[in-house]
């Protein structure tokens, strides 16, 4: 077993880059969980938040992410009901309560853990412009605002995951 996270013991450090492009509660957690798990395994992690993924690192929105059954057949509710007022809020609340009951960290705590473990957090410049956001709107531990080309440079040699 090698300690650098690379299973084949070649000595090269394993790198993982996760692009988070969605901002719903059910799509925020996969990125956070995988990032943290990778860090626990000794893998170098960079997260890039773009488009709706910015909601995950947006101070005003990160504690109020939503999940909707509308257009989401996996949630098992017919769209004709999913469209009713209050249904999204209810589904989000139910999911949030399950997360709390299982004692999973909320989004901000997860980001803090990832940051403390050495993970890097970046926001997408283009998406920030589109949504009229500045770095002040973002979670304090976000390292920087970068563009797609910089991300390409950073992710050289890394495994890239798009969520």
């Amino acid at each position: 077993m090698s300690e650098n996270g690379n299973g084949n013991g070649s000595g090269a450090e394993r790198k993982l880059c996760i692009i988070c492009s969605k901002g719903t509660l059910d799509m925020a957690y996969p990125g956070l969980v995988l990032a943290n798990a990778a860090l626990m395994e000794g893998i170098d992690v960079t997260m890039f938040f773009t488009f709706w993924g910015l909601d995950i690192i947006n101070k005003k929105k990160m504690k109020h992410l939503k999940a909707t059954p509308l257009g989401n057949p996996s949630m098992g509710m017919p769209n004709i009901l999913g469209v009713l007022p209050g249904v999204t809020a209810m589904a989000s609340s139910m999911m949030q309560k399950t997360i709390e009951k299982l004692d999973f960290p909320p989004v901000d705590e997860y980001l803090e853990m990832i940051h403390d473990a050495g993970g890097k957090l970046y926001s997408c410049r283009m998406a920030m412009d589109m949504m009229n956001l500045s770095k002040d709107d973002l979670f304090d531990e976000v390292d920087d605002v970068i563009g797609a080309m910089e991300f390409m440079e950073m992710s050289e040699g890394a495994q890239v995951l798009f969520i």
């Binding site: 300690e3 943290n36 798990a37 626990m40 960290p105 803090e112 853990m113 403390d116 473990a117």
Partner: protein
Amino acid sequence: MTTQAIAGLNLEVDAEGFLTNPNDWNREIAEAMAAELGIELTPRHWEVIEFCRKDFQETGTVPTLRRITKVGGVPTKEIYKLFPKGPAKKVAKIAGLSKPTGCI
């Protein structure tokens, strides 16, 4: 399962070198495993190790990293400094426990 000579004893380990029986553990084994991982154990390391063993004895599960930070009171940043790169597995191995299975 194979046996491996650690700290002068022949111990049963799994494929990744984790002790299969936590009761086989002693401090010399911890020192030997830590040395193998390139870690020099300080009193703070021992606090973490002792917390993990105590927690395992009390709960029957190997504590996850989050439990070590929340219940054990060791901040995440500090754990990664004490046991760099893959702390959850390193702490468990040195403490003579099996790999933690939690996702957090």
